[in-house]
Amino acid sequence: MTTQTMTLAQGLNAGLRQALRDDDHVVLLGEDIGALGGVFRVTDGLQREFGPRRVVDTPLAESGILGTAIGMAYRGYRSVVEIQFDGFVYVAFDQIVSQVAKMHARTRGKVPMPLTIRIPVAGGIGAAEHHSESPEAYFVHTAGLRVVSVSNPQDASTVLRQAIACDDPVIFFEPKRLYHVKGEVDPAVDLADAPPMSAAHVVRPGRDVTVATWGSHVATGIDAAEAYDGASIEVIDLRSLSPWDADAVTESVRRTGRLVVVHEGPRQAGVGAEICATVTERCFEHLEAPPVRITGHDVPYPPAKLEGHHVPDLDRVCFAVDQVLGRVPLDVPTVSAAVRSGGEMAA
């Protein structure tokens, strides 16, 4: 195996190039992905190499992109769609939820939808409104879609190729904050030898607390594990959110007895809620403390100058670890009795 140092964006580029070479039915669709190479340059040079029939600049309409990708799938094409920013995927939401996700079941397996929908995701980059969102829960909630999120350049390359090769539609999240992070990449990994797309990775072993997360917050988790005094923290990169690797997480929590889930999307009905519920069901007798979630708040993603108060960071993860270790009282948001009995309306 030969590796090269690449950024995560270059890893994605290498993965796309490999997929375009491996299968002549792979096509790339998106806004500004041709001459410009995408606003993050993930498709840089690919139109020059594979031509405008395979790397296609589409008209400016996300619903149009997804709808036509569905028709192309009927003809046997594997479209890799680039949504320019997370906040623009909602324009295509109907085609994704009502059509892409349901087609295989609707046609009793006769019409697979092997689409990959690449979405630059999450914040921390000082961007304008609609450019920093974490919409994963909508897609995880939608049966028929697979959902993955990469955290390093090698996964960027390999998991993207796996997603493209997968006969199901895959929502593929690329954390914007990590596009320029570098790592070693073997762009030609044999997919038969690669760990399955849906398998979680223990990226840092530990004994006392399990931190489960994905995407850009794998780094936050590792930072916290390194900074934290007096306890050994295990960090799990879930990699896949649908399906998610419950076996890996429960195995870890049985050893550590404590779980912290970190994600940037809102807390209410977020993916963390599902993970905490499942772990509580499966590991109840092993738990030393209730699982704790560190998440974005239940607010529209705030303006750039405020995002430091929204995006989970090292301090908030350490605080959660303090909580599950009983070093500080468990302080989860609680609705007061007065409010629960309707007091808020009178106020």
Binding site: E31, G64, V299, E344
Partner: protein, 426 residues
Amino acid sequence: MPSTTDPRTRRLSRAGHDSSVDSAHGGARDHAPATARPASAREGVDPGDGTVRLVDADGVRHPDATYDAWVEDVDHAALLRLYEDMVVVRRIDTEATALQRQGHLALWPPLLGQEAAQIGSARALDVDDFVFSSYREHGVAHVRGIAGADLLRVWRGVTGAGWDPHEARMAPMQVIIGAQALHAVGYAVGILADQETDERGEAPGSGATAGAAPTEAVISYFGDGATSQGDVAEAFTFASTWTAPVVFFCQNNQWAISEPVSLQSKVPLVERARGFGMPGVRVDGNDVLAVLAVTRQALHRARTGGGPTFIEAVTYRRGPHTTADDPTRYRTSAEIEHWEARDPVDRIAAHLRAEGALDDDGEARVQAAADAVAAELRAGVTSIADPSWPDVFADVYAEPHAELDAERDAYARYLDGFETSEGGGR
């Protein structure tokens, strides 16, 4: 105190509005020429050889049988004010671009090259008309009276809206391409609904005469790229079948980031109008006088029950898409030079000079005024206070929301912990 959000209150206030405020710019009220035919849905459907142009790239004024009448009140003084407007918004744009480069703004989408399209159309509006724009209409915002810090707040990343939409009669900038076209139609439908209410006599004191045509209109700005969005097509349908008093003002600046307009349409964009059953007009978007004329005509049609109009203003985005863009990847410098030769400011200056209405002193005076606005902008940016953490939780709902309130309180306790446990733990 009456709420500014109550449309009827606004209508009352409009009745007492001093019309000299906007007529000072030659764009006031409804500028129907005395000779105007009754608004007809056919008017403007066929743009003939294409583009409405009153002042060409060399500053030569060409007579126009249809459109001269719409700008017959625009004398040298009024034209000078339009010229000054364009110089000022260009200067605002240059200053904001510099502020972004210097780290005072997170991002800025320049309007360079589109001054005439924005000023000509915005100066056609009545103060009570309402604007739904995209993110590039700084020139329109300026005309609406949005100044200094308010223009930059969003781009500095401190808030989601730089101004009070009801006060400015302009919605906050819209990032989701094309979404605002539908909002404009809805607002216009609201105007129609108010009018019906008035006719039934259910809104005493509204000041409207029963049976009167709507006197307010709405304008929606969007780009060439936006015309591909479903929302925009839906807006056309709704506006057309409901005869909504709205003007769709499309600035075809030739590019949607790296995508040329040819990727969005095989025919001139103006031809879309016909299929939706509304008049369409193509105008030289770098000719401020022609833009003023066609927009006045469209607004008049809207106010007098003629329904929507689609205006394609042919112009050019000479700067990058935003300060984060690198246009050298997708277009040539020859193309930019082609459009520089059609500069909207230069042509009006040339015209005014030829008419003896502008000289070096006059230009210097206008430039000084523009510099003063730029200085105000720069001072404004540094005066913008950073938001504080409770703003994260503020205004998410109109009414109390128990979970969110609890979440905010828990976060407050978490932040308090930093003050009480200095030096402890980690």
